[in-house]
Amino acid sequence: MAELTQNEKRLLADLEKEKTADATHLADLLEATPEAVVQWAHLAQDRGLVTVERIVAKEFVYTDEGKVYLQKGLPETQLLQDILPGTTLVDLQNHEAFRIGFGQLRKKGLVKVEGTSILKATGASTEAYELALKNPSATDTATTEIVKRGLLQETETVRYIISITTEGLAYAQAGLDLRGETGTLTHEQILTGEWKNLHLRRYDVTKLPKKAYPGKVHPYQRIIAEMREILLEMGFEELYGGIVQQSFWNFDALFQPQDHPAREMQDTFYLRENLPLPEGYEKVKAMHESGGETSSTGWGGVWKEEKAEQCVLRTHTTSVSIQHLAKNPTPPVKAFCVGRVYRRETIDPTHLAEFEQLEGIVMDEGVTFGNLLGILREFYHRMGFLSVRFKPSYYPYTEPSLDAEVYVEGLGWIEMGGAGVFREEVTAPLGINYPVLAWGLGVSRIAMLRLGLKDLRYLHQSDIAFLRETPVLRHTKGGV
C-alpha cells in the first residue's frame, strides 16, 4: 500500500474514536470543508480503510402560498365548506377562494353544475390533500400534486456517513505519524539544519506532472546533419552557394541546351535580374554550337548570351558544384553541397516548389564510373540502406548516367537519386581535365520515409506537436 496522505491519517485518527460519523461532523473536528473530508475518505476507502455511505434525503419546504393554505386550508376546502344545498354559481363567485378552489373542485369531480345550481358530489372531501399539505411524504401521490401546484418545494440533501473498517481500525491502532508535512524545502531550512525535523511530503512517483518540452533541432535538419556527417567522414569538403544563380551556371555550363524543356518558364523560377557572363564563357558557347575541341557535335544552332545572363532560383545544387570545379580545376576535388533548390511545380503532398538537394562530386585522375557506383553504395549503406541497385538513366550533363534504388522493407525498391560522370562537354570548356563523378539525391524523400510523413509540406509548415513529440533519437532499421 502506497503511503497514506497526511489528511487520510488525520481522518483515521478521528475515526478511531468516532467509529462512524457524518462528514459534516468530521469536517468540524478536522477544520476542513465537508467536501475535502469526503475526498480524503474516498482515498482511504480505495485502500479499504474506511467506507463511505452516501445518503440522499428528500425534504419539503412550504412556498409562501403553501404557508397561507396551511393556516386557512386549501382553496377547494374553503369553498367546499360554503357549498350548501341551493347554493348558486353567483353566490360562490364572490368567494375569495373561488378562482383556484372551483377549478380544483371541478377537476377532482367533487362538484357538478346543474343549471345555475352547484351540487356537492356524494362524500366529497379534500381531506387527503389537506393531510398531504400538513405531512408531505415522498411516496404519496397527493403530495406530488401539491408539489406540482407550487405549494411545496422538494429538496434533496446528501449526507456522507464515514465509518472506519476493521482494517482501518487496525491501521490506526498500529500508530499514525501525524507530524506536519513540508512541500518545498526552503533556503533557511537547508541552511539552519531545520530539515532534520521536517517530514517531507511524499509524491506519487508514478504520476507524470505537466510535460516539459526541450528545445530541439528539427528532425529534418537532423537527417541533413547525419548525411553531412557521413560525407565529412568520407573526406568530402562542404560547399555553400547562393540560391540565386545565373542561367549560365545553372544550365549552360552544364551543357543544357538553351531550348531544353526544363529551362522553360513553366518549370523554372526566373527572376528579372541579369548578371554579366564570366570570363571565358565563349568556350561554353562554342561547345553548345559545335562541340568545341572535343569529339562532340554540340547541340548546333546559335547560343544566345542574353539567355545565359538571366538569373533563376537554382534548380539544382550542381550550379554550385560546377562553379567550385571551375575555380578549382586541380585534382583531387571531393566536395558536397546540401541546399534548397527550386522547381516551378504545383504544390501538393508529394511535390514542393522548393526542397533540399544533396549533391556530391569527385574529380580525380583515373576515377571511373565503377568508383561512382562504389561511392553511392557506401553512402547508402551508411544511411542504413543495405540493398542498393543501379539502373541506366538520363541526365543532360552526365554520361554515363544512372539512378540508384534502395530496398525498403514493405515498400520495395525506391528511387533515391541520380548520378553520372560529367560529360566532356561540361568539363572541357571550364578547363577540367579529369573525370568528375557526380551524384544527387532528394533529402526530403528520405525524410518522408524516416518520419513516416504522407505530406512533404509538413516538413516546412509543421504542427509543433509533431516536433515536440518526435524524439531526438529515432531507432532506424534498414534505413527508415
Binding site: E237, L271, P276, P400, I464
Partner: protein
C-alpha cells in the same frame, strides 16, 4: 518523359520472344515500367532516346539487348522519283523541310495509334512543342506530286483535319483547337508555311494542322511524310525515327528530292573510338572485340580495328550519340551496371565542413539551450507576410519570381521573423509557451546569406526576454555587439532595439507590436529577435551568385 504503350502481341511479334522476357529486361536499357495491363504495358523512356518512343523501336533495341538480332539494322532506301520545291521566302519563317515516302503500309487500329503517338512524342521531345520540328503524315494516293512547300498568304482557304468546310489560315489559328494551341509559333509572320500538291490541293499547314484531304485511314497503303522546322538536325532525326520505325513494321522507305538532294538516306554515321578511354571511364577491362560485341548488342555496327580502336557505325535514329562517351554509356548498359565492380575511389582527401554550416549548427545549439524548438519554413513567401503584416517597408533587395505559382509564393524571403510569426499562427491551438527558432538562407538581391531568428509567445513574453535571449545567442557566437533604439515598426516603440556589430546593423530584438500580433491573429505577446549571421567573425557567410 514519354510514356509509350506497348501492346504485348505486337511487341512479341516484332521482338520474336515472349512478353515476360522483354518486360524483365526493358528497365535495363533505360526505362521505368509504369503499368502492366492485361494486353499492354506502359513504359516510360528518357527524352534522349526518342528512337524508343514506339513499339517498333523498343523491339529493335530489345532484340539486340537479348541477343536475338545484334549489330546495325539495315534500312534500304530507293528513290521515289517524287520531288519537293521549297519557297525561298520561307527562309525566315520555317526553312527546313524533310520528307519521305513510305510504301506498303498495312495499318490496323493498333499500328495507326502507334504511329500517331510516336508523332506526338517526337513533337514533344525533339520538336519542342512543334516549334523546332512538326511532323505531318499523309495518304500519298490522294494527292499529285511534285509537292511544293510555300510561304502562303494568310487568307488562303482549305479544309483542315476534322472539319467539314473551308477556313482561312487566320481562321484556323483562331477557331481550330490545334490552331489555338500552336498559333504562337507562326502568328507573327506575314506569310504562313503551306504544303500543296501539283494541283494546289493543301496537304498541310505546318506546324498547325494537316488538310482533311490527305487523312490517313486504315485503308492507307502509301504515306507521304513531311517534317518541317527550324533546325536541320532535329528535322532529320524525326524523319529517320519515323521511317525506321515504319520499316521495322514492314514498310518500304523511298527518298524524295528536295532542292536537288535525295532524302532521307537512313545511312549510319561513323565514329572511331578508343577502347582504353572507354575502359578508363567505366572502370571495366575491355578488349576491342569485347567492346565491339557489346556495342553490337546495342544495335551499333562495330568492328575492332587494332588493339585500341573500334570503328562504330551509329544508326541514323540514334540522335543522342553526340560524343564518344555516349557510346561508352551504351557499352556500360550492354555490359550491365550490376556487373561493374563498385569500389569507392582511392582518392585521399580530408573532410571539411563549410564555415556557414558550422556557425549555423552552433547557433542551433545556443537556441536549443534556451529551450527553442527549430522550425524550417519555406523560403518562398509573399509581400503581405514579409512587409505588410509586419508594418515594415519593402526590403530594397527583395526578389520577385517572374511567374509565381500562386499569390502565396511571389518573393524569396529577405527576413525570417515574419515566417516564424506565421508559424505561431499555425500553432495557435498548441500549448504555451511556444519558443521557436529558425536558421537559414535569406536573399538581398542576388546575394544569399544566413540569418537566425527566434520568437517566444506566452502571457509574460516581453522586451527583457527578447533582449536576454538575443544576448545569449550573440554571446555564444562570440559576436561583439552594441545596442541602440530601433525604429522597426514591427515592434513596440520603446521596447525595440537594433543590434550593432562593427558599426552596422546586424539584427533587431524587442516586443512585437500589438498591431502586428493582430495582423497574424496572435493572442499573446511575443518576444522576438533576428540576427544576421554574417556578423559571426570569419563566417564567410555571403555568397555572390556570379
Amino acid at each position: 518523359m514519354a510514356v509509350i504503350t506497348l501492346p504485348y502481341k505486337y511487341l512479341e511479334r516484332l521482338t520474336r520472344t515472349d512478353r515476360k522476357t522483354i518486360l524483365d529486361k526493358v528497365a535495363l536499357i533505360g526505362s521505368d515500367v509504369e503499368r502492366i495491363e492485361e494486353d499492354h504495358a506502359d513504359v516510360e523512356f528518357f527524352p534522349d532516346r526518342p528512337d524508343l518512343f514506339s513499339p517498333e523501336g523498343v523491339a529493335r533495341a530489345m532484340r539486340g539487348y537479348l541477343g536475338i538480332e545484334t549489330g546495325l539494322p539495315s534500312y534500304p532506301v530507293k528513290p521515289s522519283g517524287i520531288s519537293f520545291t521549297v519557297d525561298p521566302k520561307l527562309a525566315d519563317i520555317r526553312p527546313v523541310l524533310g520528307a519521305a515516302v513510305i510504301r506498303g503500309v498495312e495499318f490496323d487500329d493498333e499500328s495507326i495509334q502507334s504511329i500517331m503517338s510516336l508523332q506526338e512524342s517526337l513533337h514533344w521531345a525533339v520538336g519542342r512543342g512543334r516549334s523546332k520540328v512538326a511532323i505531318g503524315i499523309h495518304d500519298l494516293d490522294t494527292v499529285k506530286p511534285p509537292f511544293h512547300y510555300v510561304a502562303s498568304p494568310r487568307s488562303r482557304k482549305f479544309v483542315p483535319l476534322d472539319y467539314a468546310k473551308e477556313m482561312t489560315m487566320d481562321e484556323i489559328l483562331e477557331k481550330h483547337p490545334k490552331g489555338r494551341d500552336y498559333a504562337k509559333i507562326v502568328k507573327d509572320f506575314p506569310l504562313f508555311p503551306l504544303i500543296v500538291d501539283d494541283d494546289d490541293h493543301v496537304l498541310s499547314f505546318p506546324p498547325i494542322i494537316n488538310g482533311e484531304r490527305t487523312r490517313v485511314t486504315i485503308d492507307t497503303e502509301n504515306i507521304l511524310l513531311d517534317t518541317t522546322g527550324t533546325d536541320r538536325r532535329a528535322v532529320g532525326v524525326a524523319v529517320n525515327i519515323i521511317c525506321t520505325a515504319m520499316a521495322e513494321a514492314g514498310a518500304k522507305i523511298e527518298s524524295v528530292e528536295i532542292d536537288g538532294m535525295q532524302t532521307p538516306t537512313l545511312a549510319p554515321v561513323e565514329r572511331t573510338v578508343s577502347v582504353a578511354e572507354c575502359s578508363r571511364l567505366l572502370g571495366v577491362e575491355l578488349t576491342a572485340s569485347s567492346m565491339a560485341s557489346l556495342l553490337q548488342k546495342m544495335r551499333f555496327g562495330a568492328e575492332p580495328v587494332g588493339a585500341d580502336t573500334v570503328k562504330v557505325q551509329v544508326p541514323c535514329y540514334r540522335a543522342d550519340i553526340m560524343h564518344d562517351w555516349d557510346l561508352f554509356e551504351d557499352v556500360a548498359i550492354a555490359y550491365g551496371y550490376d556487373r561493374i565492380q563498385d569500389l569507392p575511389p582511392e582518392t585521399f582527401t580530408v573532410g571539411k565542413p563549410h564555415p556557414v554550416q558550422v556557425y549555423a549548427a552552433l547557433a542551433r545549439e545556443a537556441f536549443c539551450g534556451l529551450g527553442y524548438l527549430e522550425v524550417m519554413p519555406f523560403t518562398l513567401t509573399n509581400e503581405d507576410v514579409l512587409y505588410r503584416k509586419m508594418q515594415r517597408p519593402e526590403h530594397p533587395g527583395v526578389l520577385r519570381v517572374m511567374h509565381p505559382i500562386s499569390i502565396e509564393n511571389t518573393v524569396v524571403r529577405t527576413d525570417l521573423l515574419p515566417l516564424l510569426l506565421e508559424f505561431l499562427t499555425l500553432n495557435r491551438h498548441r500549448e504555451l509557451p511556444q519558443r521557436l527558432f529558425t536558421v537559414g538562407d535569406v536573399v538581398d538581391s542576388c546575394l544569399t546569406y544566413q540569418q537566425a531568428a527566434g520568437v517566444s509567445i506566452h502571457r509574460d513574453a516581453d522586451f527583457s526576454e527578447a533582449y536576454a535571449s538575443a544576448d545569449a545567442v550573440l554571446h555564444e557566437l562570440s559576436i561583439d555587439y552594441s545596442v541602440k533604439e530601433s525604429a522597426d515598426q514591427a515592434f513596440i516603440e520603446g521596447r525595440r532595439a537594433d543590434i550593432i556589430v562593427a558599426g552596422k546593423k546586424a539584427g533587431v530584438f524587442g516586443e512585437i507590436h500589438p498591431a502586428v500580433l493582430n495582423a497574424f491573429d496572435l493572442e499573446h505577446s511575443v518576444a522576438a529577435f533576428e540576427i544576421d549571421l554574417r556578423s559571426v567573425w570569419g563566417s564567410a557567410g555571403t555568397q555572390d551568385s556570379s
